[in-house]
């Protein structure tokens, strides 16, 4: 999209705005039309840059997210999410969101409510669990002997759990709470 300067390459007829150029075109007309549409797309791109640009602070958060890059941690994949995988209960409001993550033999079940989160690591084991909202250190929980954990801070926005178990570190897939 470099031809923003006008009629270069269009043999002098700039082809804008003919009412008859909607559908059956051939040869130069079709070429002119494509060229016009490219210009229009470019104009939209500029308009979006002015009226709906990506906020600079937001992009900075993505730059800082590099800190989340950790090749040693195993990723527990999201295998169930009630938002997409469960049949909604009619008329039910404020139903908890149920999530299940899996990696290897480890399962993490999590339930999110407006009051907080609770969950369980299976098979039952003690683990330290960090509630992540971004690259910064999150709040830390410890499971009981049954692998259960609770937090009274309801997650909002980007969310993941980092589990430190005897067998190493597991991080759940990120999702939007």
């Amino acid at each position: 999209m470099t031809n923003t300067d006008g009629t270069e390459g269009t043999d002098g007829t700039d082809g804008t705005g003919g009412p008859d150029d909607m559908d059956d075109m051939s040869g130069d007309d079709a070429f002119d039309d494509d060229f016009d549409l490219d210009l229009l797309e470019e104009e939209l791109r500029r308009a979006a840059g002015i009226l709906d640009p990506i906020p600079a602070q937001l992009q900075q958060l993505a730059v800082e997210a590099f800190a989340l890059h950790d090749l040693d941690a195993r990723i527990a994949e999201l295998t169930f999410d009630s938002v997409t995988d469960a049949i909604p209960v009619r008329g039910a409001v404020d139903v908890p969101r149920m999530l299940t993550f899996h990696v290897g033999g480890v399962t993490v079940d999590v339930e999110l409510t407006g009051q907080g989160l609770m969950g369980q690591v299976l098979p039952p084991q003690t683990a330290r669990i960090e509630v992540l909202r971004g690259p910064q250190v999150g709040s830390t929980l410890t499971t009981d002997d049954m692998g259960r954990f609770t937090s009274t801070e309801p997650p909002a926005g980007p969310f993941a759990l980092r589990l430190r178990t005897d067998e190493g570190t597991v991080v759940t897939d990120w999702l939007t709470a």
């Binding site: 002015i50 990506i54 958060l61 993505a62 890059h69 980007p158 897939d173 990120w174």
Partner: protein, 219 residues
């Protein structure tokens, strides 16, 4: 500008390298670099990561906007997408398709938020017009100058007509107008539509937009 930085990294690459490209779009030119940048980032190169963010974050932003997420939701989904990308870096099977990976993740996460418990008011594109006065970029300041008044008017009209297009066209154009023009593969991943349908749909939508502009005498 970020765009210049991104483009300066690009090498001349034969168009034939891109099986999904009917013709060269800006984004495609940089694609061979994306795989190399991902690899460098995997190896711990923070500058490569930054270049990836600068090159591909306009696409992620366009996708969340295409789905009309509210400001708050758009910010959250955008972050989730990048956090997940950072997490999966080094495990992504086709690093050169990182743009499609991001676009597809942004699409799924946007749809999920829309389906979820949160019911927030979708963004109304015309409302964005009111923002011009709030947080000034150099481009916006330029629009304030008197000689640019006509251009400013044109931008407003264009945005209004764009916002009133049918949902399909509005979505497609919002993705296409990302600051770094996306490849058709990325557009396909953004919207879940076949690569082959994008070209014809794009033409139709842009013609429709042009007809609307002509009708209001704004061409």
């Amino acid at each position: 500008m970020n765009a210049i930085h991104w483009r300066s990294r690009s090498r001349a690459t034969p168009v034939t390298a891109y099986d999904d490209m009917p013709y060269t779009r800006g984004g495609a030119v940089d694609r061979a670099d994306v795989g190399a940048l991902v690899q460098s980032a995997v190896d711990g190169d923070a500058a490569a990561w930054k270049a990836l963010v600068e090159g591909l974050s306009p696409l992620v932003w366009s996708v969340v906007r295409a789905y009309r997420l509210s400001d708050a939701d758009a910010h959250e989904v955008y972050q989730t997408v990048w956090f997940r990308f950072a997490q999966h870096l080094g495990r992504i099977r086709e690093p050169e398709k990182a743009g499609s990976w991001l676009a597809s993740t942004a699409r799924h996460e946007s749809l999920k938020v829309l389906r979820g418990l949160k019911r927030t008011t979708p963004t109304d594109d015309p409302q964005l017009l009111d923002r011009v006065s709030e947080d000034r970029t150099p481009e916006q300041s330029l629009l304030d100058s008197e000689e640019a008044a006509a251009q400013s008017e044109r931008v407003r009209h264009l945005w209004q007509e764009f916002a009133e297009l049918g949902e399909r066209c509005r979505q497609l154009l919002r993705v296409l107008m990302a600051t770094q023009p996306p490849s058709y593969q990325e557009v396909s991943a953004s919207l879940g539509i076949a690569v082959g349908s994008i070209g014809p749909l794009r033409q139709r939508c842009l013609r429709r937009l042009r007809a609307r502009l002509e009708a209001r005498g704004a061409v």
